[in-house]
Symmetry: C2
Subunit: 174 residues, 2 copies
């Protein structure tokens, strides 16, 4: 196939997007590193655990939610565990499984860090967007994320997406 290059509009959008998200991620990482001593991904782990009824989740589920690899999660959780913010528990129904549980200290750290994090996200992103744009942002990335979801389904991808990864259920509310 003779490559459909990006149109000028798409190029501009792509450049703006890349520049924007790099700056944004950078700002978020810097803020969290400064104020909470951890990068964005680690904060997300704590946040995700905190939103769960029992404040615990199986590794694979957590990785799935966070859209990160299991190996990356293993490393991150080990570090958080060393810091006492997360505790690893074994899964009773499945001896293979291990569960990451947010400790009280972890919850405290999270609550401490949250305001600053939100302020950063606001200042860098939401305070610059109109309500319509907020909706557009959700719509756009929702569509993008969907594209990576469940494989086989009916409305297949515009092309084959040979990249794409995992998927797996199994909840771990002890």
């Amino acid at each position: 196939m003779t490559t459909r290059w990006l149109t000028p509009e798409e190029q501009r959008a792509w450049r703006a997007y890349v520049a924007g998200y790099l700056l944004l991620e950078d700002a978020i990482d810097r803020q969290l590193q400064q104020d909470a001593g951890m990068p964005h991904a680690y904060y997300s782990i704590l946040a995700n655990l905190s939103e769960t009824p029992e404040r615990r989740l199986r590794m694979t589920d957590l990785a799935e939610r966070l859209k990160i690899t299991r190996s990356r999660l293993t490393y991150a959780v080990s570090r958080l565990e060393k810091d006492g913010l997360v505790r690893r528990e074994e899964c009773r129904w499945d001896k293979r499984g291990s569960i990451a549980a947010l400790t009280d200290e972890g919850m405290a750290v999270l609550e401490d860090a949250a305001p600053g994090h939100v302020a950063t996200v606001r200042a860098a992103l939401f305070d610059r967007l109109t309500p319509e744009q907020v909706g557009q942002l959700e719509e756009i990335f929702g569509q993008v994320a969907q594209g990576f979801q469940g494989d086989g389904e009916g409305e297949a991808a515009p092309e084959d997406l040979p990249w794409r990864r995992r998927s797996s259920p199994c909840s771990g509310t002890s």
Copy 2:
């Protein structure tokens, strides 16, 4: 200040965005790593150099364009240089400066990799968006990026943005 938390709409948008860009970056990195043996950031270095009249740029300029730190760039360029895709030249007017120049081989590798890269970006992003959404994407991230730009200006940031980095001119077309 009593933290203005994200509204439900903002939360949804934020989640969609984070999930989306993680998946997207992951797909792009994977594709480039597979097909060109380098991550997205490295590809961007080559691409950026190729778009310059003389196919060369001073390190700081390049870092500025790419929105990455100088130290990160130094490392990346060293690797690319080792692979023969980029060559370092000294700056004649400023003995401190060093210039990164795209080699013919680098150009060739870039041209080889481009189609696959574009295809990935298309399949994962643009083929899922309407033309209006493409415009919205540009608008949104253009605004975000602007927020990190030139400091002092009139319409200052909604809050102080204590994070933010460098800035510096100086072109290096030999």
